[in-house]
Amino acid sequence: MAELNTGDGDGKKGGKVRSKKANSKVDLTAMVDLAFLLITFFMLTTTLSKPQSMPLGLPDKEDDPTDKPIKVDENRTLTVLLGDNDKMVYYMGLLATPIAGPKDISYGKEGIRKELLKRKQSVVEYTGNKDKGLIVIIKPSKKSNYRNLVDILDEMAIVGVPSNAIVNDFSPEELKLLEGK
């Protein structure tokens, strides 16, 4: 089948003895190796190239004047302000009478995640009800970029914050917080 006959049929250069009769089979091992390497490569690239996606649900946007704003316990809210140059400021409770902060904090494991985990626990202890957990309000400023938003949403998913909301209106005090320092 896939054997190469190297030995016979070379009547032209009869003088030279080139053929080795014993070695009529081509060694396919290297070829198989290569084929399997390529198979692995294609298998991995086809399945891994699918983009990841992060589901995001936003509340209904309706400008209904009769709609009453939902009041939430300020002891349960943690507000995160996203600024430019990866700046992030957080505070707990109301800005006028904050429980914690306002403080600059960094993204990632050592920064916001630690704080979120801590707050998540303390809020449940405070309310004594597992259904009334931490509420995180994310306020991306005009200068923040998309990476910041995805990063913070990712943290929400990692930490398992029960509810979070993206809010777009800024109070002047909050703007000052982001710009100052």
Binding site: M1, A2, K25, D27, L28, T29, M31, V32, A35, F36, L38, I39, F42, M43, T45, T46, S49, K50, P51, Q52, S53, M54, P55, L56, G57, L58, P59, D60, K61, L82, Y107, G108, K109, P140, S141, K142, K143, S144, N145, Y146, R147, N148, L149, V150, D151, L153, D154, A157, I158, N168
Partner: protein, 199 residues
């Protein structure tokens, strides 16, 4: 050392290996260069994007591109868009459009874009993006008509994915989200890359 080191017949193995190899090569879709390359931010979510019933809105460098999955859906959406803006597309153009990548031109110059060669379309800077300002909100129409087309063809609600550049400023993303929310689409996907290591 043996002289006749076990000479297994590799022929069959080789056949199988190459059969599988050709299968994977053929099923792998060639990656067509994107007209608007974006660097998506990384996240640790594991969910994958669906393969069909999907519209992708790419946001980068202040431009917005629109892409739709499924040939029949694309044809239908193009037809509806043509009706809306009074542009006639021939059967041939429609077929070509079905095979194209994401588009980033106003509907009026879509004909020229379709007439171009595939390689020329993705030249950077050629496509100005789909208009999305409030006076001429073609992105809104694209999304709207694609949803109709998708329900028509596949009988399923269209999923929307936003693929934003990591460095894109938030207001640009916000604008796209607003357009979606105007149509009461409150659930959508954000396309992200895979974060390789725990940060």
């Amino acid at each position: 050392m043996k002289k006749k080191a076990g000479s297994t017949d590799m022929t069959a193995m080789c056949d199988v290996a190459f059969l599988l190899l050709s299968f994977f090569v053929m099923t792998a879709t060639a990656k067509i260069p994107e007209a608007l390359p974006v660097d998506t931010p990384a996240s640790q979510v594991q969910s994958k994007l669906p393969d069909d019933n999907l519209a992708t809105i790419t946001v980068g460098k202040g431009k917005v591109f629109f892409d739709l999955k499924g040939r029949e859906v694309r044809k239908k959406a193009l037809e509806l868009m043509g009706q809306k803006y009074g542009v006639e597309f021939t059967e041939e153009e429609s077929a070509k459009f079905a095979l194209m990548e994401g588009i980033g031109v106003p509907i009026t110059s879509l004909k020229q874009l379709i007439a171009m060669k595939t390689g020329d379309r993705s030249k950077p800077g050629l496509q100005p993006g789909v208009p999305k300002d409030s006076l001429n909100n073609q992105l809104h129409e694209w999304i709207y008509n694609s949803r109709i087309a998708n329900i028509d063809v596949n009988d399923k609600e269209l999923q929307i994915a936003i693929k934003g550049d990591a460095k894109e400023e938030y207001p640009a993303i916000k604008r796209v989200m607003d357009i979606l929310q105007d149509q009461k689409i409150n659930n959508f996907n954000l396309v992200t890359g895979l974060r390789a290591t725990e940060k």
